[in-house]
């Protein structure tokens, strides 16, 4: 018995060491990003590499701001990603609710058709979408970036799968209590789906935050650039502004942390429990 306990403790110890090594490996590039953002580019390739952050962050940031108006890009990215996430959450949850809880003609084929659009690569859609946007005159607009991807097939799929767990009697009970079908969605389905919505919002936000190819085609005016487009500007044919890139990326990842930490509180386990007695 004691032998077993000791063996288990050893295994545990080994597992923790292994995990810590992985964590360190993952953190090294992030740490280097912070260090590199605070030192002049001249020290970038010095050997041995610098490990202590310097004091150049503000200078690097000023250079970046003069170069590409990065603050403006952050603003663009936030507007686009937030609006996109909000709109997409509404559309995906409504569609998911319908697919999970209502019967209508061609429901199954329609659902699989939506899923099938997941296999279309973005490259295939960019040219037709670009032509469409030119025709309706939406190039260089937020709408052009937000709308085409707002009804997200993955989001619809996720919401449908999760909403199938809502007990039928819960909705029927609300119907008896006088709720309209929209109130079922709004007052019952959405609140019970908070964890799924939080998870989906992270996926959606991240997708839009890092979107590059489609915004690159649609947004030509530098005033409309999102963060990835501004970053791309820093990689020139003659010169790569490593110091500015590092400042920009360290700023670019911050909202991701914020979104994740805000949404984390909604990851409540078993929010549906206690609703129906099994």
């Amino acid at each position: 018995m004691r032998e077993e306990e000791r063996n288990e403790a050893l295994w545990r110890f080994g597992a923790y060491i292994f995990l810590m090594v992985i964590v360190v490996l993952v953190l090294i590039p992030l740490y280097w990003m912070i260090v590199a953002a605070t030192i002049p580019q001249s020290e970038f390739f010095s050997w041995p590499p610098r490990l202590i952050p310097g004091l150049q962050w503000f200078d690097n940031f000023q250079a970046l701001q003069e170069n590409v108006d990065f603050l403006n890009s952050i603003g663009n990215s936030i507007i686009i990603a937030v609006a996109y996430t909000a709109l997409s959450l509404v559309l995906c949850s409504m569609a998911g609710f319908a697919f999970a809880k209502y019967e209508f003609r061609f429901k199954e084929p329609l659902f699989y058709f939506i899923l099938a659009t997941l296999v279309l690569p973005i490259q295939l859609l960019i040219i037709p979408l670009f032509l469409l946007m030119v025709q309706i005159g939406w190039t260089n607009s937020y709408l052009a970036v937000i709308l085409p991807w707002a009804a997200n097939p993955l989001g619809i799929f996720l919401m449908r799968q999760n909403m199938q767990a809502i007990p039928e009697s819960l909705l029927e009970s609300a119907r008896m209590d006088g709720a309209t079908e929209f109130q079922l969605y709004y007052k019952i389905a959405l609140p019970t789906m908070l964890p799924s919505l939080a998870a989906l919002s992270i996926i959606l936000f991240l997708n839009q935050w890092q979107a590059f190819l489609y915004p690159l085609v649609i947004l030509q005016d530098p005033q409309m650039y999102t963060i990835p487009l501004a970053l791309a500007e820093l990689v020139g044919q003659q010169r790569v502004y490593f110091d500015q890139i590092m400042v920009a990326t360290s700023l670019a990842v911050t909202p991701i942390f914020v979104v994740f930490l805000t949404m984390q509180q909604y990851f409540i386990k078993g929010i549906l429990s206690g609703s129906v007695k099994q």
């Binding site: 819960l170 209590d177 006088g178 709720a179 929010i271 609703s275 099994q278």
Partner: protein, 377 residues
Amino acid sequence: MATIDITKLRKVFGDENGEIVAVDDLDLTVEDGEFLVFVGPSGCGKTTTLRCIAGLEDVTSGTIEFDGRDVTDRRARERDVAMVFQNYALYPHMTVRKNIGFPLRLSTKQSSDEIDARVEEIAGLLGIDTLLEQKPRELSGGQQQRVALGRAIIRDPEVFLMDEPLSNLDAKLRSTMRTELQELQSELGVTTAYVTHDQTEAMAMGDRIVILEGGELQQVGTPSDVYRSPANEFVAGFIGSPSINAFTADVDGGLLTGPGGFEYALDDPSLVEGYDRVRVGVRPEDLRPEVDGAMPSEVTVVEEMGNENFLYARMGDVDLTARIESEIHPEEGVTVAFGFDEEDLYLFDPKTSESIKTKTSETDISYEQYVQPGPDQ
């Protein structure tokens, strides 16, 4: 408060694999303020009937009227009906206060304060006023049940529907809640339709009982009616616990003979005139050991309940159950003859299984001599 008139109600569930008739041409009236219990084995159509009254299920044909108003095509929320579900269906993200107040928030223009006051009144009535700020998952089964009830009664609906509301509670709580529900219903006087598969519950609670089988109405009547005068053998078998003993006997004039040496001479042979065979039924509580009993049977199991004994016995190829005094405990394996009074005998048509004869014993023994003068007399 309302009278519910159900006329020729028919509900067919169907898909490409075929059709299932869940409710077949049901005609029924639930009187104003009545507590009506639907009972039957699973799949008999009782829950479907309730869901049709609720408006959660479209009817295939027939009409449902509340106080003469046709509500057949109205949605559930337009019917002023409240329902308690078997699994309670509480809103998991709302506190007890919000759960109970939910129907009022949706359906009336009352202010928050008015609703709150009403919620507290209802919670007090149900004894859950200390739980108002808790979430359903923090409550016990019995408390959840009360919240579900509270949500149903707060709106003062015309009709209450209850779908096996007690089946998830343990036995002790179930009998407490049974009494509470009855008191509550008679206090509020709301027309109530109640579904259960448990005939004991049906007998204990119902003003009248509706017995369904295979989507068809078997009988409607008071508990005493369906117990004493069942319309057919199915009702006789379903009502009463343990179940009635039933077997086939040959008829020879007034003499019934059956399996394992069963022999009984009817006092009134005219009952079985024109029959070669009949189905004979005797309830376990009407059997008693008798010297020349008509039913010689070998005792297989004796269950001592304390206040009475259940005897399980075999008469030929028929299994019998008898409820006898606790003082009599025959050994397993001995043969005992059981007898019964003819007034307690049931006879059924072997083909249609309709009743030929049911209980005729006295039902109304005067109790005036025992009545004590009340304080106000």
